[in-house]
Subunit: 350 residues, 4 copies
């Protein structure tokens, strides 16, 4: 299943070390002005090689948009096709892995499922695929921008360090870099937590009962490579809470007369699967990069025990790279829900 | 969106205090022998009123299967339609809420989305809907049984108590009942954690990149009323881990010659979105029941401040009721993936 | 696949001689006033036994709506579940067919596909299923009515008789009854042609490239039992035409200043897969009822030759019964497209 | 909606005079050997400029496959992304149309739907898009080939000429060319009929009730530019037939002991929406190319009457170009149904 979304659908293709990756974004309303430069900027932000502890692979990640835009940059309502060439593919780096299963990677499971796999760089399982998502999220962001939605993600934990309030935006770049540097120097990798706040979402987005907004967000976030948990609002702590402590009491909205707000936001902006107008707050935990620069025992495709001496170019902490991907996936979910809400609007049929 | 699944699709309907709820399960392979009694047993297990601290609503929850089975109980390959009548609906209980928004409920968001809502019992937002899911999960369970899959959920945390190992099956019924009783006596409610272990899953289930098995499971679990977080394998703790500590080293499978196993199961049975043959381990946090037996401030549909004096019949800890629902949703996801894997099987086309 | 539609989705269940048939209509916008009586009237029109030459089966076809409506008949935005009990099921009538394949029926192909089949009345393959469609079409009709759309089907051909202009509404009830009576007296059955005109459709409905409005209509019509061809506008004759003869010349619309019309309607109201504001005109050919009251040679499920002496209750001309079904399916397609057009509207995002 | 298919899904993009068109074919089983040369050959067959009366546009139509294949040409099970560059795009040719609505084209309806349109070559509405379909059909053909399915389409009618038996394969190239040449010399265009025979299809493909095999084929064929009717088996003539004349009597299959055949094939290989093992026979009528080389009256986007002096490069008879497109779409439908039948197989679950 290489398609994501319902009204706004992203379909992608591409192996890590093939000639190119790309996608088709279908369902964008027409006459929205797109800045290709803004899309490129997002891709640049995701690009490896921009920070210490990230992969040394050097890709220009230049997007080529092949359809769906008028000569002056307006969406035509037709699907937006795009490709990103792989310039720095080095399939040779992976020859040593071709017949060995790397621990915690998708090598074994792809082989089990397909009876064949592209060893180089993990093939389709590579996080390189997320460049497609960032491109699509940036395109969709032009729609959410029009609606006043703002999506912001950041690192709220890495290894032993964690922000006290997951949703306050609090971070500690110095500490984060120190943890990553220390792990990297040992040839190790480290996990991390990414928080995300989506503000400006109107009340009424999301669908009962299987299309709950947080269910869609969960599916989106758990699609990201290395994601191990999803939570929103009170999240995991909800299991320890008492009802009397966590009620979001409704009050007349002080700033917007005639509208309704809440005193607190334990609900994380979603009640009964539908946005309530508060900021949507979520967090996603990412495991450490599975590839570490230490010898590891494993088996080969014949079931024989062997040793693996890792090489290739890898991030120390994938959570760092996931920040723009979390934003992109959140943007795609919200854009989809905004379009859906137009279709369902109870005010349009009268 | 009232349909769940891809190859095996459950579509449901029903308001909490309407005449009946029900669903259609489409995509079951033909010639599978169904025990209607086994389905009824599952429903009985979910039924309110069977334990202290659960809602006093008394429903017989008798399922009536209307199609899809031969006279001798074999699936025909046609959709299985079923209904469950609401016998103990008391819409009158909710009249006092008709124009007030209950905190942490879906009242406000449904009104925002639809411009209308069924106040009685939360209408479509009620957990009564999960009876449909349990019925469908029990039907699908006949398929997963044939494949040797076993799905087991249990309470692994409630309020201050939490199991040390989320996936060991460890529970503490006495402690759990004490926590719930204490909260209930105060008119309060309390959150809980449900763990689930799915064993017997063959390697190769799940789809890259947007149909990852854990993404499907996350979407399924986050569809359950009151769910606030989803995690699998190392889960939330992954953000604190180092790569060198959590590698699931591949080894020849001692019990099954020629097959491959792992020394540990930090991955939770899924690697790269595809099952690896190990047990799938996941956990879901549920918030406390939003309705508590204490007066609460709120606003009415005209935006005026008012007080809410709760009544109706409510669980103290929804997590308790969620256990069979978690199992049902997990079963639906695995059954769907099993059917998908037949379609994609690389061994069938040669 | 027992689900039809994209934004407005009908999912159905039911065997001809099971306890009940029914369906779930999901995606209706909220706050639309539904007349259950109007839905029942539509069902009554489809009902067998109302005209000479139709099946003698006597069903009251009373619909029971189980969800999705408020107490005062407004749609809630939640799925509308409904069932229609089978009162006059006589599975015994079909015992003689249980191990024989009736020619031109679905007996053999269901057995091939499913390895099992419900012999009574064709099971799921029975035209009784279309009662579900008529019910859903009548519900959806409340939406299309609001938008000023009018759907009208009629018999435009039966056996040797055919209307000169398929889309003029011309019919000949006397001639039609004579042809059917003659065939029925001989124990034979006869085919027919149903034309349909959909007026009041706004320009802009339908989707390139795989969601063309006529492609959706074709799929809908070819879902109806016994349908063998679909055409719209010039239809089959288009293959004989020259371009210079069939151009629909655009002109300023005389009645609606500032709008554009065409001098002719060879296009049948759809250009490039999208409605142009003209009436949508289509026609569907139906084969004769496969069951005739004459002995027929066939084989049994063991592959042995045998004779079939038909019985049961059957229509002489299924096209007669198909008229309200054609209207229902057309209504579902247009309602779906109307909802889609809201989602895609280029005027909503500015 | 730019996605076609359920298990095997083709998603496409591209405007006629944009930089490139392309698509993603998702759902191909793994380990199928693909000949890129065979795909290219199919594209060459569809290419304009290969016959008299076809457009003078010169495109090399070289396909570039970007993913989904191993280095030695086996499918990986991942999506197959491909692009076809537009080399001979001449948007300037269409400047004269930019503000006029061409009769029987999609100009007016696209403007109505999207509020914007790409005038050059019809943009997304151009038949150039069908190159994507032919590429995907050729890829899918490797799967249908493995299953012994053969798809063959041909011209069975053009203008005044029509084959007596639509499904016999009878054609008359000389007569066809004469009709087209005559029309072309007058600056006119002419309609045509394309027949298609699909042999080697196993019994049991297709789904009741909304996924009938002929319903899927109808939707596929009616997606092709200029298609105005679809019929299968007896087709349109079914409306004139009597049941006693058109029964396909079942008999033991003389060639394949233990299997069942029919004496005739009025059903066109499909009964109750499911293949019965006979050849599937269908026919599609195409209207004349809307653009003719004669002045035509029309209106411009401001609603003012004006004259249109056509230019550009156009086919005289689009049906000629549609032959490989009909084959491609038929192949995609059958491949999809073959994959579906694996998922549903009643023999796999025991």
């Amino acid at each position: 299943m290489n398609t994501f979304g319902h009204h706004l659908r992203l379909t992608t293709f591409g192996e890590s070390h093939g000639p190119a990756i790309g996608g088709i974004l279908d369902g964008m309303p027409s006459r929205i002005r797109i800045s290709v430069e803004a899309v490129q900027e997002r891709l640049d932000r995701r690009r490896p090689g921009n920070a210490k502890g990230t992969s040394a692979r050097r890709e220009t990640d230049k997007i080529r948009i092949l359809s769906g835009l008028s000569f002056d940059g307006l969406t035509l309502g037709s699907p937006i096709g795009f490709i990103i060439e792989n310039n720095d593919a080095r399939p040779g780096d992976y020859e040593r892995y071709a017949d060995k299963f790397r621990p915690n990677h998708a090598d074994f499971t792809y082989q089990a499922k397909y009876g064949i796999r592209e060893a180089a760089g993990g093939g389709r399982a590579s996080a390189r695929e997320t460049a497609n998502w960032v491109a699509a999220g940036a395109l969709a962001g032009h729609l959410t921008d029009l609606c006043g939605v703002c999506v912001k993600a950041w690192i709220s934990g890495v290894g032993p360090w964690k922000a006290e309030d997951l949703y306050s935006g609090e971070s500690d770049p110095e500490r984060i870099q120190a943890v990553i540097a220390e792990a990297g120097e040992r040839g190790d990798s480290v996990g991390g937590l990414v928080s995300c706040r989506i503000s400006g979402v109107p009340a009424g987005l999301g669908d009962p009962v299987f299309g709950k907004l947080h269910s869609r967000l969960a599916a989106a976030m758990m699609s990201i490579n290395a994601a191990k948990s999803f939570e929103y609002g009170l999240g995991r702590k909800a299991s320890e809470a008492y009802g009397s402590e966590m009620a979001d009491i409704f009050v007349p909205d002080a700033c917007r007369p005639g509208r309704i707000g809440t005193l607190t936001n334990f609900s994380g902006g979603i009640q009964g699967g539908i946005s309530n107008g508060n900021d949507i707050c979520l967090a996603v935990a990412f495991k450490p990069t599975p590839t570490i620069m230490m010898p590891q025992a494993t088996v080969d495709i014949h079931g024989q025990e062997c040793m693996l001496q890792p090489a290739g170019r890898h991030d120390v902490c994938v959570a760092m790279r996931a920040v723009p991907v979390v934003e992109a996936m959140a943007t795609l979910v919200i854009a989809d829900a905004l379009i859906a809400s137009q279709a369902q609007s109870h005010t349009l049929w009268r």
